[in-house]
Structure formats: structure tokens, C-alpha cells
Amino acid sequence: MELKDKLRILADSAKYDASCSSSGSNRQNKYGMGNTSISGICHSFSSDGRCISLLKILMSNCCIFNCKYCLNRRSNNIQRATFTPEEVCEITLNFYRRNYIEGLFLSSGIIKDADYTMKLLIETISLLRFKYHFNGYIHAKAIPGAKEDLVKKLGSLVDRMSANIELPTKEGLKLLAPNKKEDNVTQIMQYVKEKRNRNFVPAGQSTQMIIGGTNETDLNIMEKSFSLYQNYHLKRVFYSAYIPVNKDRLLPSLVKPPLKRENRLYQADWLLRYYNLKVSDILDEAKPNFNLLIDPKADYALRHLEEYPKEINKVNYYELLKVPGIGVTSAKRIIQSRKVFKLNFDDLKRMGVVMKRAKYFITCDNKFLINKDMLKKEFIEANLVLDNKPIIEENIGKQLSLFG
């Protein structure tokens, strides 16, 4: 088989993995080729709008597992291919020196068993690091169930290592991926958490969950993420809207992947990690799913109107962050600048605050930007939704298609 065909098959099999980040590592180029950039670099954007930073491929798409949702499952009749370690090096190095990529993201189907597959990944990445002196970014998937010393070895070669939790609950995993065990995945996470330092997985670990393949609520998903961040200090949890690649009576027959829901999950994920909100602030048993029309922060604000308005010249950083239209950057700017001069509404606009959203929730020097008698929940909610054109267009489309 030609190298080009292998690349096509093994990139196609790898494309559903969401992670492509290349940040968080500061590997220097002593001699040889490449270094890493602490902020990460995107090299291209594919027609689905996703960033391409790493050469994302599988070592092999041969797999002994039969996970229902996966394109590469044993029972699928698809073209199979396996790279040799030298082939992976050849493509990586030649792409890297032409500046197509920031590095390599190497994963694999399970060939024979976990240890065998893991050894193949280690052999390949060792070649890159030691024979070719490659210092670019490498993200490898650890194979759940592999021996600890293999996990240790792989972790010492890469910038990021991850193991996918795949589904938000054990029940979901049992139903759709009967060969996989959550404990094997969390074992790897625990190990990486304990051992992580500047020579072992310096850019940390991440994981991924499929959304909409099973019937978990958004609350289940967020609770799972929260516990993963807490227990294993993950850098990121990625959410991947379920795309039906296989037919199976256990799988939902979606027409379109739930992209809006995925978007809401990422927004809420940010609220947990950077905005100091708790899952219970965003969702609860009475309201276990996101409002698809309004983002989670605005939704929180509308349900807690008694906490608003916030006085820009007084409230602390975390209170500022609770204002829709104020993000991490603008909140930091406000905190720093207001020590030097008193802020007015014009200053806020210049600092990057989205005033059309923030204006309902703030005062500057005790002044409102709009008539405060208008500040009723229904009024604000209607305005926030109406200001969001893409949401309106999407929903008008749906309405029309009912009659079409």
C-alpha cells in the first residue's frame, strides 16, 4: 500500500478526536529539529473550522475492540492499515520542516493487546526523539490496560498524554464500549497526576467524552467533568458531539450532531475552570439541561438577578466575571485600570466589554446605562436572545422546516 493511502486511512480514522492543542510545553531546541511554543500554534484550519496544529493520525486502525460508536470497531468492514515507525517519523519530520504542523498526535487502535500497541507507540516516538532529535510537540494516547512501566516510558517521551473516558457514565461505557473499563482509564490519569513534572507529560493530560451518544443529561456530564478536574488535575476535558458513523440498535439515529449542545458544554466548562462557578450554579436536578437559546453565564445571571447590578468600580474579580459580556481579559483590565482612574461606560467599551450584553447587569459610579425600571427578567431575556442573530436564524430555519 502506498504511503499516501495509509495516511488517508489513518487520518480519517483519527479525525474524531477533538484535541489538537499544542500549548503548555516549553521544550527547547538544543540540537536537531523543532521546539514547542508555550501558547501553542495553529497551523491551519480545516473546512469544519477546527484548528490543525498536530499531525493527527493513528498508528493503526486495526482494533480488537468493538465499541459501538467507533468507526474502527472490529466488526466494521473498512480498509485497514498500519504505519511502520519509520513512516510516521518520515511524515512528521517532513511536515514539520515545511511548517505544516506543530508536532504529532499519535493514537492507535488496539492491535493484539494493550501492551503490544503501547510498545509500538513508544518505539515510534523514541525514534523521533532520539534518532531524529525531534523536539516538537508530541501528544500520545496512552492505551488503557497497558503495564505501568510502559505508561511511564511513554510519558517521559511526550508533551501531553491522554486517555479518553469516552462516555460520561460507567453505564454508558458498559452499553456502548463493553471491552473498555473506566477503571483502566482513571488508573492512567491517577498515575500521570502523581508523576507529572517538567520531564514527564509537561503539558499535562486531557480527555474526551462523546456527547449525545447515550442519554445522559448535561448535569451528569458537567458533574463528571468537575470530578475529573478535581481528582486528576486534567488540563482539558473535550466534548465531541456524537456523529453517527455506525448503525446499531443501541445508538441514537441522529440526523445532525448536537453542535449547539457541545458549544454550551464548552462554555460551561470554561465557567468551571476560569470563572470559579460550581456545577450547582449552572445546572440542578430541576433543570438538568442547558438552555440552547442563552449561554450558561447569561442564564445564571437571569436566574440570580438579585445579585445584580454589579458596580464596576467596586466589586471583586470573581463578581466582575459573573457579568455577561465581561470575560477574563476585560475583568483583569478593569481591576488594574480602576486603581489608576475611575472607569466610565466608554472606558469599558474600549477595554473590550461587550456592552450590548453587559449593560443590563452593571452600574458605573452608580449610574445605569439604560432605564433601570426596564430591568425585568423577561425584558432582558428577550433582548439577549434577539441580539444573537445566529441563534435566531437557526431557530427560524427549524420553524419553517416544520411546514416545509
Partner: protein
Amino acid sequence: MDRVYVYQEGFLNLLTLLKYLIANKIKPFNIKEENYEASLLEEVVDLRLSLNKNILEEIKNKLGVNVLKILYYVYLSNDNNKELIMYYFYLNALKYPDTITLRRDLKCVREALKLEKYVGSEAHKLKGFVRFKELNNKVLYAKIKATNNCLEILANHFKRRLKEEYWIIHDEARHIMAIYDKKDYYIIDDNLLKMEDNKLSKDKYEDLWLTFFKTIAIKERENKTVQRNFMPKKYWENIIEVREEK
């Protein structure tokens, strides 16, 4: 008459002039590079100052490395008013040395920070979008058309990254190129080195990259608006995987 002060090309010459104007309490109508064509109402003043070699150290010690970086990035921008923005930013930095970057109530600070960010983010994007071709003699060659003058920032980046390669980055918008000889890079006028197109032969890895690029997209998620937002069309002519689509 409105006085326009001119400087010889180069960051250090400009800083030398700015410092002189500030120290002598001269308020310029404008500041421009020396080949400036003045209008009828303007008077060009060329002070012919001798270069102050310590000026970088002076600014760094007095105002901090961040202020120096902001001045440099504004200098690299393509903004028509960049010299005046630098003048007022420098002036105010001397007045408020500790808080200057927080003074967003001052127009010159807002403008300077905006340009700094603009240049920084364009350079960051180009670190990803530069596409090298391998010439027959193994030299890597890339063309860019940058809005701001990012070449030096890029050269510094690739000097560390592709240390064991010979490479050339050619900014066609400014007719300059950075040439790296495995030790250091030099920035030269592009007419000093003629690139012949026939040296750019077809390359197996370009073909593999196009295959990868096409395959990695998930068609159920197609979203070309987002693609364009992150990768503006103005760069596409030099990005091989999207050049055809342009």
C-alpha cells in the same frame, strides 16, 4: 508652518529623534521617515541626529522591557500615525512610568496597545501559516504577504525552531527577505537575491499534506465561516492547502 520631523530608516533612529523632541519640549506636527513628501503647508525638519546607541538600554532601565516592546511593535505596524502614537506614548510613559500600560483613559495608550496586539497577533498567526517549499538545493523557501512588518519576529522564531536548516522567508509586501545560514539571520532587500520559479519543483510531501488536510475535516461539521475567521483569506495565496480554493 506645520513642522514634520524626519528620521533615517530604523527603530533606533526613530527612538533617538523621539527622545530628542521630548527632552527639548518640541511638539511635532508629525514625524515621518526621511523620504517623506511634504504638503505645501508643511515644513520638513531633518535634525540629522547622531544615533544614540544606548537608547534601548535607557528605555529598558527607566521604563521597563514591556514599554520597549510596545514601542517596537508599534514601529513594526503599518499604521499611518505610528510615529506620533509612539511619541505620545513615550512622553506619557516618562510621566507615568509605573502605570502607563494601565492608562487606557489616554488615547495614545489605547492606540499603542491596540497596535501592539495587532502586530503580535499577526506575527503569531504567521508563525503557523508560513509554508516552506524545499528548493532543489535543500534550502527552505517561504513567501508571505504580511500586513504589518512581522519578518523579524518570524525570523527569530524560526532561528530557534529550524536551527539546522537553511531557510529564506520572503515578505513580498515589503520586498525584503530574511536569510538564515544555520548561525544567524540577515534581513536584506529582495532584489539582492533572485528566486527563479523553476527551482520550486513538485514535492511528494506537499501532496501528502493536501491529502491529510482534506481527510481531517469532518463533513458533518462543515463550517467555512469559522475557518475564514481564524485563517483570513488575505493569507490564502501562500497557504498551499487552500490556495486553489481562493
